[in-house]
Symmetry: C2
DNA sequence: ATTACAGTGTGGTTAGACCACAGTGGTAGG
DNA sequence: CCTACCACTGTGGTCTAACCACACTGTAAT
């Protein structure tokens, strides 16, 4: 077993045992190195891996943002991993889109009416009406979809959904330039968002799921990404 | 931007541009360090991250298994990430089980009859009848479920499904000790597997999906893991 | 009381050395 | 001629020891 894996194992055990919890601080790299009788290099390699997994965040200096603290951001980490695998041509973009449709329509169908996430989603829609440019619109759009997914109450589904979107974010960003008429598309997307949210709040899960599927497939299709519809 | 991120960016570009492909070899760590004008340490940190992502495999010595080569194993990488997040208590096991049910029943419903993966699945079932102990049975079981997921033809879904299973593999392995009667459970699981495969081969996707959902939820429930049924 | 600044501890980076490993190819012995 | 051995080479794995930038803290000078 390689040295840095030993460090990883030790840290994972600290987490499992509850000695390290969310928001907690890891010992300094030098301290861990001495405690585990390994070099600081090996400790750093382990920390890097945890950072890539979205389990910790490392910050220099001193104070609240300093040191290596435990966080919980599986979404961005999974997203980076998927993005790299897309780069190797091993994961087709169409499969990612299809999976996103699957997860997000499932979430829309099971969204719990009344949870805070839905209120946040509604507020995001209002902000999107006033979005000054494409980029800020897309950023709000991402948050809206995440909020919608969270309303189903399954953190794994919402994390995976966020990561799928993140993995092809670059594509989406580039492809908005290919759209014939952004203003028209933007208006359509806003209307679709409101329809989806209305269906969810109306307890019509089936309709919400259909609308979400059409919404996502429609966007990627218009943007020129094969969506492999796979009709029900 | 930190140095190792620069290296990551460079490697990702090589992958995107097709200069590095699956099975290809990265330059040696010392060569990359010189080429990018960074230290070998930074190169190594980048390689570690890619290794954790399942994008690359590093091997010492010389010959076919030596050097750092590009692979495509998103499943185990995503699994490790999820496992760590489970350790932080951020991802409940129940959510993982629920997501697995979601993905796997979707795959069962859409499995393409006649693909090689189904033939492999059938062969695995035969091997499971002759499995000498629990561990080898569980290993074959894992491969059966992956093969089934692959039959749907969505590599993202099968990778995620495999990672979800892997994330709670330890739990499953420990919990088999809690089962009242392993032989009975094992027989039941085998029968359920054959029923699922029969439904798939009979083009009865709906039934296959139902059977898969019941199969998975039943196992975890019996093993004592909350499965949060979320009835349809 | 305010300001300036040295002190302290954090992660970030580097250079250089040594190790174990696994093929390669030459060489000495049969 | 063939075989067995062994030094050589290049790979990743590990370690040490230093230095840097950063951000806060406490102290001292104003």
């Amino acid at each position: 077993m390689r040295t840095h894996e030993l460090v990883l194992q030790w840290i994972e055990k600290q987490l499992s045992d509850g000695d390290l919890t969310l928001g907690g601080r890891l010992p300094g790299e030098r301290a861990m190195a001495e405690q585990l009788q390994v070099s600081r290099t090996s400790v750093r390699e382990a920390v890097r891996i945890l950072e890539a997994m979205g389990v910790v965040r490392a910050g220099v200096g001193s104070g609240k943002d300093a040191g290596t603290v435990v966080i919980a951001e599986p979404g961005s980490a999974l997203g980076s991993t998927l993005r790299l695998h897309v780069a190797t041509r091993h994961l087709p973009v169409a499969d990612i889109v299809e999976t996103r449709v699957l997860l997000e329509s499932w979430a829309a169908e099971r969204a719990h009416v009344g949870v805070p996430a839905l209120a946040e989603a509604a507020e995001l829609l209002d902000q999107m009406d006033a979005a000054p440019d494409i980029d800020s619109f897309l950023a709000l759009d991402a948050r809206f979809h995440v909020a919608l997914a969270q309303a189903a109450g399954n953190s794994v589904v919402s994390a995976m959904m966020a990561s799928l979107r993140g993995a092809i974010e670059n594509y989406a960003g580039e492809l908005t330039g290919n759209l014939p008429d952004w203003n028209a598309t933007c208006s359509r997307l806003r209307a679709e968002h409101r329809a989806i949210l209305a269906a969810v709040n109306n307890n019509d899960g089936g309709k919400a799921a259909e609308l979400v599927a059409a919404h996502i497939q429609g966007f990627y299709k218009e943007a020129g990404v094969g969506s492999n519809p796979s009709p029900k």
